[in-house]
């Protein structure tokens, strides 16, 4: 049964995630809310591993998510289901390659899809971001608003953001490694 659910969910992810790289994230977030396979916070660990290992990020996160859900079988099924719609669509498009490329319809659709994929990813990750930078578990407490802020974590986040912005050519692995060192030293 879990295999059927995996096939359906990752087929949908493959069919509707547009924009490459992190475009699968909003769908994985939706899966994490619907099934007990992994939590929204696990997504951050999956991204970290996916960015620091070889292979396309979308494939890596799907494999990882499938593994969390149902072990080795789950990861194979999740990955194949993610890839299946792409392969079919590309084979269909190959027959009318130039017509597809020059189509005004495709261009118009992407005029709407490009900003949407940025909004989707940020919207899906907002809760997870908040959980890493704020003491959200204190939300219901009486403490002052200031107590919510995890100051060391926010400072570390700002410092890393500045470095990523200043040195866009440095590889993400370096920042993930810096994150690991910082985490061991400061225990956020």
């Amino acid at each position: 049964m879990i295999y059927l659910q995996l096939i359906w969910e990752f087929f949908k992810t493959g069919l509707f995630s547009v924009g490459g790289g992190l475009a699968t994230l909003p769908f994985l977030k939706a899966i994490s809310l619907k099934y007990p396979w992994f939590t929204p916070n696990d997504l951050l660990d999956m991204i970290a591993v996916s960015e620091s290992t070889p292979g396309p990020i979308g494939i890596n996160t799907a494999t990882y998510a499938g593994f969390h859900a149902a072990g080795l079988g789950g990861s194979v099924i999740a990955t194949c289901s993610l890839v299946f719609p792409s392969v079919v669509i590309i084979i269909l498009i190959s027959r009318a390659l130039t017509r597809f490329r020059d189509s005004a319809l495709v261009r118009d659709a992407f005029y709407g899809l490009r900003p949407a994929s940025a909004g989707l990813i940020f919207g899906a990750m907002l809760e997870v971001f908040a959980a890493s930078l704020f003491h959200t578990e204190l939300w219901k407490g009486v403490g002052s608003l200031l107590a919510l802020l995890n100051f060391p974590a926010i400072a570390f986040f700002l410092a890393l953001s500045l470095c990523i912005w200043k040195f866009p050519r440095l590889h993400p692995i370096l920042f993930i490694f810096a994150g690991a060192i910082g985490g061991i030293l400061f225990q956020f």
């Binding site: 890839v83 719609p85 319809l105 495709v106 005029y111 949407a116 994929s117 890493s132």
Partner: protein, 180 residues
């Protein structure tokens, strides 16, 4: 060598050597597919890569399916894609199993508390880059804000928002052309 095995191994090699997703892959594809193999011309590859970004799914997979299909039809497409995916599958399963094994150690938990913050910063930076590329006028600004709010605060399914955004783009394009 068997042409299907050749496709599988070539794309497996590209998959292993690509760290950090689709955009890092282009120079490798150029060297392996265009220069070493001559399977496509430079122009064809650039076309595949551009269209791979305008079709659903993972860009690297879309590009490998194109090249495989062009050289050896449907079986070629399947072999090339399988080659692109296989190294990820093996490496991630091993790492995921290892992390599960060591997740209870305090030092691993501390490391991940910092890694998660780094990932937040990296994801935010990519989202900003995507937003700068996608937001070009008022309608695209609205589309970004609406999709953000729908997913962040109302838990609307991303499938619905993707369909709506595509439809909105087509509708806006249609009205603009009629006006001019």
């Amino acid at each position: 060598m068997n042409p299907y095995l050749d496709l599988f191994l070539t794309f497996a090699r590209i998959g292993v050597c690509t760290f950090g997703g689709g955009y890092a892959m282009l120079p490798l594809l150029q060297r392996e597919i265009v220069e070493n193999r001559g399977w496509t011309t430079e122009d064809e590859l650039m076309d595949y890569y551009a269209i791979g970004q305008c079709t659903p799914g993972v860009i690297a997979v879309n590009t490998s399916t194109f090249v495989g299909y062009k050289t050896h039809g449907v079986p070629g497409a399947v072999c090339a894609t399988a080659g692109m995916v296989a190294p990820s599958l093996i490496i991630i399963v091993i790492i995921a199993a290892c992390i599960q094994q060591f997740a209870h150690l305090a030092v691993v938990q501390h490391a991940f508390s910092g890694i998660r913050i780094a990932v937040c910063a990296l994801v935010l930076q990519s989202v900003l880059k995507m937003a700068r590329k996608g937001v070009v006028d008022l309608p695209t600004t609205l589309i970004l804000l609406i999709t953000f709010a729908a997913v962040a605060f109302f838990e609307v399914s991303p499938v619905v928002m993707v369909l709506l955004a595509g439809a909105a783009g087509i509708a806006i394009g249609f009205f603009r052309r009629r006006r001019t």
